[in-house]
Symmetry: C2
Subunit: 244 residues, 2 copies
């Protein structure tokens, strides 16, 4: 038996942002598992089984991938972006901790271009100095933890990237996050809304914090917030390498 499990990042959307390492794993695989729109990005071919599942089924998907590897198959669990950033890698290790018998398997995580870095590149270099990444979904953590982190990150003068800022089932959190930022940051602070980066639907907009509204974000948007030094040079937004 020579089964394996790879947890791979497909990047934000454009096939030109998928690493050769990930493409090689997909070419060798017998099975690909993932959230339906991510599996749809993998080309079908003879001998490749595609297992698409719903967004909320991460632990079941992780168990399925591990069981396929244990039965000798070559399985790739695909995430958008990077699998280690608010994606499937942690879910696989949560299952492994419950079921340590699977630890003997060949398991590898292959990095990908995560959405915040693709968005930052399109905008300029807004994350060019110290920064943080916060998942604004309160599905897996109390909202109070998010509020605390936002306040401390603003006090630390980190640039910030917000994943999952807003969805139909969580319409209100992002507005509360903007209110907290307005308490701590100046109204001129630059905010970037990057939607569907590197896809045909890509749209990037830059506003001041005072002008930012919750409706500017949806579930396909990454929000980047500059630090106190972030500025514009023509069409580009960047954060200088130095801090006062």
């Amino acid at each position: 038996m020579s089964g394996w499990l790879v947890i791979a990042g497909l990047g934000p959307g454009d096939a030109a942002l998928i690493t050769p390492e990930v493409s090689a794993a997909l070419a060798d695989a017998t099975d690909v598992l993932g959230y339906t729109p991510y599996v749809a990005r993998v080309a079908a071919r003879a001998g490749l089984n595609l297992h698409a599942s719903d967004n909320r089924e991460e632990l079941d998907r992780a168990r399925h991938g591990l069981s396929l590897a244990a039965s000798g198959r070559k399985a790739v669990i695909v995430s958008s972006g990077d699998p280690g950033v608010f994606a499937m890698a942690a879910a696989v290790f949560e299952v492994l901790e419950e079921q340590p018998g699977w630890l003997a398997l060949d398991i590898r995580v292959l990095p990908g271009i995560t959405a915040m870095l693709a968005a930052a590149a399109k905008a300029g270099a807004p994350l060019g100095h110290d920064f943080c990444a916060i998942n604004l979904s309160d599905n897996l953590k109390p909202w109070a933890v998010i509020e605390k982190r936002l306040r401390l990150a603003a006090q630390a003068d980190f640039a910030m990237a917000f994943y999952n800022p807003r969805s139909q089932s969580r319409p209100d959190g992002f507005g509360k996050a903007l209110d907290i930022l307005r308490e701590v940051c100046e109204p001129e602070r630059l905010v970037i809304f990057a939607r569907a980066v590197s896809t045909p639907q890509e749209h990037i907009s830059v506003v001041k914090l005072a002008e930012a509204t919750p409706e500017m974000a949806d579930m396909r948007t990454i929000v980047l917030v500059g630090n106190s030094q972030t500025k514009q040079a023509g069409r580009f937004v960047y954060t200088p390498r130095s801090a006062p």
Copy 2:
């Protein structure tokens, strides 16, 4: 004239981690500029001029790349990792702000696999929950800013990635950073030292904060610090997706 400037990320070392988008830009280029060891990663070919320079010459290199593009050449400034994370993209925009005449040029930033995400993938998923990235070099910011950010990041219970933890010219900062973490975090906090990730010299070690010493890091090391929930599942280190 159809010159352009691309600021591109080569990833952490392995050619299999260079995106096809970056490879295509390098194939089209007439000129490649960068720090000597990064330029050495680009294959020489007829018609390609390689311009290697020293580590401390970022602004001169940015001006050179912009002037080449202005003269109609196709220039790529290469960074290791991602060009927007403690790398060349911000330096180019700093120059553009001084010399806005160059803003009319075709300038693009192409993302890459940044060292912290390559290191995290090798270790498991230590950045699987909210996290921050801090450059521990005080060449461009006061050490007091670094100390403040470390304390606030620990209070926020972010996992952390430290770039440039220690060099021959800055032997003492990382030890001070560890002392600050020991004031705020429990001694069992997991710390990952990831050296030369994805190269033949790769070495990953995992220790508890109480056991971490400054000598474990050098200028080729990325240091990842877990949050309060980070744990081990066999050989893997991961941070659960949920927070209490």
